[in-house]
Symmetry: C2
Subunit: 201 residues, 2 copies
């Protein structure tokens, strides 16, 4: 068989309430070869969160050292806490031919695109914006004010959709995961990723 | 549900002996919604060939009238016979939201790309060039001289592979067809083809 090419860097974004975590779980259960990148953060773990699973929890000093060492692919600060993606781990996986999945928001995705033009950017949308509103209300965990804030944020995020290569519609979770799997298969078939099959002819 | 977008124009090319017809049959049996475009030709039907199935058989005068009327998306002349693709039929299908598949060689594909930048160009390759040679010899229908001619032609075609979006490896027919289906699914998910999901937000 031909030599293994480099792994694919995959960025998934989507508005709050679209069901992104569920789609990612489904995707990772189907494509167990994908490495899901766990972000670093300086915020405190919430109940039920485990270090190395939900996040790598580090101190502010440790995080700032990573920034100084240029160890981060992208990072951002929200409500006095840092969130970021380690470049080192991702590079190792990609070099080993392993596909890497990042779950990051639109600003982070734009930074990844700038640094890694070959990254595949996928934005998950609901079947309609009205449906997103219904889903956020159905969760019934947030106050109306919070929900309206999330919808405003979603509208802002939608303005950045043109930066994404693909839109996956989360109507049914399994169908959305299947679409992402098809996208990854197709990206693997891109001529530039398969030149090893035609070299030396 | 959201309004149907335009159909996708798909171009399949590949060297003689790669097994393209078999892959296409498999693909069309899985994706019965795809319209397979039948070419027009001025050559005589061979035994077993039916008008409208293998080709639309027309006279030289009829073909030249189609050229004059600019009814062809692409055409070429081989060994004193014309071969071409009708623009009219394809346009009707695409406008109706139907995906259209063309089986054409590299020069024709380049013409389609020039006229339809959104067309998806897929080149089918064997697992290796040695395997292509083995397959051509295994058919045992051609003389060595003819086989060497086909291999020379294949090498020329390989020089045009950079014009193709995707390379599909025909190691196993079903896997090759599955890859093409994944490519078509992914192309349908392209942001530009799904803007109807985010309009008016």
């Amino acid at each position: 068989m031909k030599k293994k090419t480099r792994g694919q860097l995959i960025v998934l974004s989507g508005p709050s309430g679209v069901g992104k975590s569920t789609v990612i779980s489904e995707l990772l259960s189907e494509r167990t070869d994908i490495y899901f990148s766990v972000s670093f953060t300086t915020r405190q773990p919430r109940v039920g969160e485990a270090d190395g699973v939900n996040y790598h929890f580090v101190t502010r000093e440790e995080f700032e050292q990573m920034i100084a060492n240029e160890e981060l692919l992208e990072y951002a600060e929200y409500v006095h806490n840092y969130y970021g993606t380690s470049l080192k781990v991702i590079r190792e996986k990609l070099d080993a031919g392993i596909d890497v999945l990042l779950d990051i928001e639109v600003q982070g995705a734009a930074k990844v695109r700038a640094k890694c033009p070959d990254a595949v950017l996928i934005f998950i949308v609901p079947p309609s914006f009205e449906e997103l509103s219904r889903r956020l209300h159905r969760r019934a965990t947030d106050q109306e004010e919070v929900i309206q804030g999330r919808l405003r944020k979603a509208r802002e995020e939608y303005q950045q959709i043109c930066n994404y290569d693909y839109l996956v519609v989360n109507d049914k979770v399994s169908a959305a995961a299947e679409e992402i799997i098809a996208i990854l298969t197709a990206e693997g078939c891109r001529t530039k990723n398969r030149m090893n099959f035609v070299e030396g002819v």
